[in-house]
Symmetry: C2
Subunit: 512 residues, 2 copies
Amino acid sequence: MAEVYVAGVGMTKFGRSSEALTELFCTAAERALESSPVEVEAIYIGVMNPEEFTGESNIASQITDALGMTGVPALRVETASSAGAAAVLAAFHAVASGYYRNVLVLGGEKMTHLSTSATTRILAEVIDREERRSGATMPALAAMIAETYRKRYRLSRSRFERILCAVAMKNHRNGAANPHAQFQSPITEKAYFSSKLVATPLRLYDCSPITDGAAAVVLTAQRTDVLISGIGHGTGPLSLRERDTFTSFRATEIAAARAYRIAGISPREIDFAEVHDAFTPFEIITTEDLGLFPAGKGWRAVEDGTTAVEGALPINPSGGLKSRGHPVGASGVAQVVEAVWRLRGMSEPKLKREARRALTQSTGGLGTNNFVTILERADRPRRGPNAAPVPAPAVRHAPQSKSKKDTTPPEPSDEGKIETFTILYVTPDGFLPPLALALVRDQRGALLMAQGEDISHLKIGREVFLRRLEGVYYFTVKSHLKKVREGLRRLLRRLPSLARTGRHGQGRKKAV
Amino acid sequence: MAEVYVAGVGMTKFGRSSEALTELFCTAAERALESSPVEVEAIYIGVMNPEEFTGESNIASQITDALGMTGVPALRVETASSAGAAAVLAAFHAVASGYYRNVLVLGGEKMTHLSTSATTRILAEVIDREERRSGATMPALAAMIAETYRKRYRLSRSRFERILCAVAMKNHRNGAANPHAQFQSPITEKAYFSSKLVATPLRLYDCSPITDGAAAVVLTAQRTDVLISGIGHGTGPLSLRERDTFTSFRATEIAAARAYRIAGISPREIDFAEVHDAFTPFEIITTEDLGLFPAGKGWRAVEDGTTAVEGALPINPSGGLKSRGHPVGASGVAQVVEAVWRLRGMSEPKLKREARRALTQSTGGLGTNNFVTILERADRPRRGPNAAPVPAPAVRHAPQSKSKKDTTPPEPSDEGKIETFTILYVTPDGFLPPLALALVRDQRGALLMAQGEDISHLKIGREVFLRRLEGVYYFTVKSHLKKVREGLRRLLRRLPSLARTGRHGQGRKKAV
């Protein structure tokens, strides 16, 4: 495999823009090309859903024309919200194969012109259909994952909330120094805790914003100061119901193992990382999946300042998706741009130790299609492969299709246990807030996404009754039901007298 | 660049299917994997617009799950109707780089569940926005290209119609022997000429059908009996207005030049080709762009039977898109599947000379994003690079963006000349048939897409008056206007008497 280097990089300011999607792409492309002393032979474009966001089809040809580069091969790559990183990988292969010497990689998305509910609906299409039917949105599933993490690592609710707040505050503080970030001022703890609940425990400040923007990177076979020394890609189950764990993303583990192996390094040789913090808890989980911190210890690295810019292992020194913004298709490319700038010493604030090796991680959908890229200064001596490479996680790939299986949802057993839950305060169209959602493990061991008939008494491990109505599962907390029953019993005990009063009343009426 | 071979291939029957999109993908994948003695490490998926055709997002993860291959890296590639071929190219790079040894390439689309008008609308989104605003559809633009070809090569209308009919008859005859084809019976000349006009001169039988289907190919670094010896990709202007020629597709020329150069062969070493005959005239133009026939001679190769299965250079022996069907994202992969089957001697009817080297060509949009792949038997001795390789066409790639230019359409000059035209009998929603459309070159030399105020007197080169109303250009043929004027003049000449009669009448009325 030929070595692949980074020539120029560039991006637009992220935020709300009046420019059209193709214009955003052109601005980013021009900035990257200006600083690239090479002639690009092909264009790779990461964009998630221009079909529905802006009504654009045939986007690769549109962009090529708009750039005045008609004739140059151009294709679009898509893996939901990691589309930009997917374009980097495809372009990497094209250069590493020797087929092209220089290629332009673009990532972009135009989203802010739509209403929040329309954007949320389009973004939610990446979720499993059945989970969507229950009212699940991206924040809802992220919240359920967060709740599992909190419970598994025995963090009190208030401590966990303070940790999530610390991630948000750190990233907003970092973004304040980033001229391309959508939000350029720090946030206070007070502002965090007074921001509205989206899906417990996630508040508005735990979620990356809706953003317009584009980013560009020129990859080249010609030696430059920055080398892509490792790159990896993996997938994970689409639905939460089919996962064996909620506290890590297998797709990231698979991608990371490959990237480290190719780079010949271990996670401890990474100087800083730009990771996909679409939701604050995902930053924590991702740093664990990447092996940057042990499983269940990522929260502590936030708490003790390890991941701050002045810490030992800065995470998202650019502000991350949280503060830089998240034009979905752009983010995977923007992370590479930010990493290159920082490796070149062009970013503020400076890190404590000189940045020689960076990692970028991008997540597609709910952790279902993820990428890891390792970039390093090429003008410093390179060490050989590390003695103890990260073992590759086992990948199931039995070529046996599940597509023909009976897709009618099974009748649930009558009872089950809450595996994780959230209360959704920002609901998709057609669902009234607050909406309780839980993943319930039924008595046969299957996981079901179910709507709560009530939002009270929710807790991981709590027993519930289940029923199915028109393809949607509903649950009622047993203890809650018990209380209702007790209430009814008390009422029944009082019934004879009530009944007497009733009859008496009727009698009186008749007497009148 | 490492050599890339084809292991197993497979496809679904093309046509109207009750299976869901992911099921179609799984069926094709299983067939290719069954015949592949390798373990695939990644999945590349070509699909054009599942977002709008079936409401699917995050399709790569969906398919990976459905295949029971969760964990395996999977990404989607898209270049409009050549998406399948784009996936082949991206996968080729991944294997040629040495990054993966074995990858599964899938192409598919699900279209028949929608109404024809909905499908036509989605397909038309690949066209330039301004041309769409005038009522242009894919068949309309294809028809305008056909008309230019006919005129340029001085073919009479009736001869040209017989040539197009010959393409359709040939491909339907070939498809009749293909068990995977949507249409499996030959058509008669009578049936062709009684099929309805879609956009003059194109009839229903000149257009590929709306189809469901999927196809799969396993690419491998391991030596097999079929080698991908060359592959190329190019783009062309999105809009007709910006083209310097209508009688060839620059995107195909660019792609072909690269593919021949890598394979080290000239076009005359191709034994048969599967080309993108979405419209019958495109088969002819494409065989010229590929250098299989000289420019302006492709029609003669149809007329004299050269391109028939028993001819010297069979084109679309599988039946092509025309008869096999055109599930857009699938076609680029299906062509490779058909080529491999034929190279392996598994296809009927047999060709006259032994097939040793095949070419597949796929078109994205209106010839804007095209691919060429050359496949050859690897178990026969390979010749070295050809003495006279095809020169690469010049590609403009000045990195100067046109995106910031004023996008308000200019006021046309008052007059212009018809460059090409069609009368559309199947119109998009909101346009009443018959609808005349023409590309008009105005006095400043700019090309404009304009609607005719009338459908009569249309001819290439005819002078027209132009006007613009609410962003849409309208034209009136001068001679036609002259006739109207003459008619008015005649009327005016009769006016005095009419006026007298009028006054007389009034006078009488007053007298009463």
